[in-house]
Subunit: 388 residues, 2 copies
């Protein structure tokens, strides 16, 4: 029997939460291996899993391959029923809304976006409502099994209250976004900072799975960093955390809008790259795309600007590795950013400055599909299902 969606909390006991989370993040697992992993008895796992299976969130897989040496009853691993429930994720940028519908495994089913002409709260909420309708009523018919929406916003966001304290791109101050978005969409809303949302997605559904500590670095206009330490996202006592972009790596470098000097962002952020490229070429109208083209075309001066930027990013990443020693670090470029121009130099800077065994920290450098931000928001929404 499949319970109706929206019937209260998903898990009742700590054991059930642990079981569901483990299956969600670590893929199909037999009950015994879950018991081992979670420090429970297998009886407890059986009991915790039953209601989740009855509710349709977990399914028993047929035994596919032998696990042990030979004999024994084959395991019937527990897996997530991905299409049991769908989650909407929307990233709010200064230009547009990017939205996706994800299943329980955080796989994207549908995506859409809408330009934002007016950045006022009301206008954005209206567009948000239209986008959510478009997503849920579109192909796939996800509306019936969707009840949660995750929103990702850059800036100072309080996830527990759903309040956007300050968002620089949107020029929002103290917007109770959770309540407002819930009114407009009728869904249960979670609001999170965009970089933290992306980090959560990577921690639960990406390369950070199973890691006690983990870092994600985003390169673009700003240079940000999400940190997971001791198994939990780092928030910062004064609302500041992961500001890798404002680590000072060059005492003789350019001054930054933040008041510091030689900040990574003031060297390697998109505006800084553009500024340097304009100075170098003498063309005041030059764009970041022009700079990328020139560098890819072999322009040495522009190439050097990207090289210096990549090196600065590498130094910032080394600072992260030296300080918190994450199990791995993922570096992602925003949208179509020129990560290929950065990669080599990021690695060089990192390897030069990483201390001792910190160089062993694996670095994944890869482009970031633009809808990945929205997927991050959906991932936070999925997380809110088990950890409200």
């Amino acid at each position: 029997m499949v319970t109706e969606i929206g019937a209260g909390a998903l898990t009742e006991t700590p054991a059930a939460t642990a079981v569901f989370t483990a299956v969600l993040t670590e893929g199909p697992l037999s009950r015994v291996s879950l018991a081992h992993r979670l420090g429970l008895s297998s009886a407890a796992v059986t009991k915790a899993a039953r209601p989740l299976i009855e509710m349709g969130y977990l399914q028993e897989l047929a035994a596919t391959e032998r696990t042990g040496p030979g004999a024994g009853r084959p395991a019937s691993p527990l897996a997530i029923q991905a299409d049991r429930e769908f989650f909407v994720g929307v990233k709010i940028t200064g230009d547009e809304l990017i939205g996706v519908v994800c299943d329980l495994c955080a796989d994207v089913r549908v995506s859409a976006h809408r330009p934002l002409a007016d950045l006022g709260v009301e206008a954005v909420l209206t567009e948000l409502g239209l986008l959510v309708d478009e997503l849920l009523d579109g192909p796939g018919g996800h509306r019936a099994r969707a009840r949660r929406l995750g929103l990702a916003v850059s800036g100072d966001v309080d996830r527990t209250t759903g309040l956007v304290r300050y968002s620089p791109f949107l020029q929002w101050h103290n917007v109770p976004l959770r309540e407002r978005a819930a009114e407009v969409t009728g869904l249960t809303v979670t609001v999170e900072n965009d970089v933290k949302a992306l980090t959560t997605a990577e921690h639960w559904f990406g390369e950070g799975v199973g890691a006690e500590s983990f870092a994600l670095v985003t390169v673009g206009t700003g240079i940000g960093c999400g940190l997971v330490v001791n198994g939990r996202l780092v928030s910062g006592s004064h609302g500041v955390a992961g500001e890798i972009g404002h680590i000072g790596v060059d005492a003789t470098g350019p001054t930054c809008h933040c008041g510091g000097r030689g900040c990574v962002e003031a060297i390697a952020g998109t505006p800084a790259i553009v500024r340097q490229a304009r100075e170098s070429t003498g063309r005041p109208e030059l764009t970041i795309d022009d700079a990328v083209s020139l560098a890819r075309g072999g322009d040495e001066k522009i190439g050097a600007i990207f090289a210096r930027g990549g090196d600065a990013i590498g130094l910032g990443i080394a600072a992260v590795a030296n300080l918190v020693g994450p199990a791995r670090i993922v570096v992602s470029g925003e949208g179509l950013a020129a990560y290929d121009l950065f990669e080599k130099h990021i690695r060089a800077g990192f390897e030069r400055q990483a201390f001792g065994a910190a160089v062993e920290c694996p670095l994944s450098i890869r482009p970031l599909p633009f809808e990945e931000w929205a997927r991050g928001a959906a991932a936070v929404s999925i997380q809110s299902l088990v950890a409200p």
Copy 2:
């Protein structure tokens, strides 16, 4: 009735552990306030506290002052019985052993030290045995109620196994120090990295009390940092963490023995200060004490060296604040180091580079009594009583 020392684990249930830890770190607390703080019912606190009182670890204080508006039964707060058990802490340096006996509140009762002529494992263990005997059989007669010993060693230490993987000053490789020290002393031994031990002491018994995140920076020959994030000490997945000394803060700065450039330690570590002072004065025999004297006497060139060093430290601390956002940061100088020459510049560098609200992170800059390292070791030993 007071149970004999050594009668197994101190706390049986999670609630008892929580209660004891809270009283230990947050001072005397009534049962109701403990219940509130720990999310327990007051009945649970009563039950958890009883065996601890019977064993003599907790005591009930007489009601001293009214808590509420007026009426009501006065609270009888629970407090630690400081002299219920004593803990030996020893810091092993390249020159000497520094030892203390602390009570349950981590207050130092006795201290002593022994020079180390031979840094071989056997020689050090022999001296350790003599030092522990001296400490426990000296004034106070602590032997009868001491059963635990904490050891602090610089370098790569595995606390869970008590193995010293590598210690540069001692030139030790893979020494099973916990077993060996237990044989020699007959005590239950805990081994921890020195900076982590100091951080633990500050987190449980000093300025870090109650903080979910907290950082301690030590300035001396090396520049180290202990981090507490999400309530737990940061260890680093690859064995590296808190290496604030090897954050690169000056791309044009001196190269460091680690291979990096412009490392904080290569600018502000004691050897770096001495090197620069010798170059500046042309006196190759100049010591750190000479440099401090000159700077205090108004030598502008030497003063500038300390200023630059302090500034570099401040930049490193700003990196910590920007990345993990600790609730507060304590900066301590080793031994008699010239923290007064650094302080102003540390603050200046920090305030310049700290991003946004990170400047609000309180910075305590203060000298570090040399026996504080040994107290850190004792604090880890106390911690092992409740979290084995």
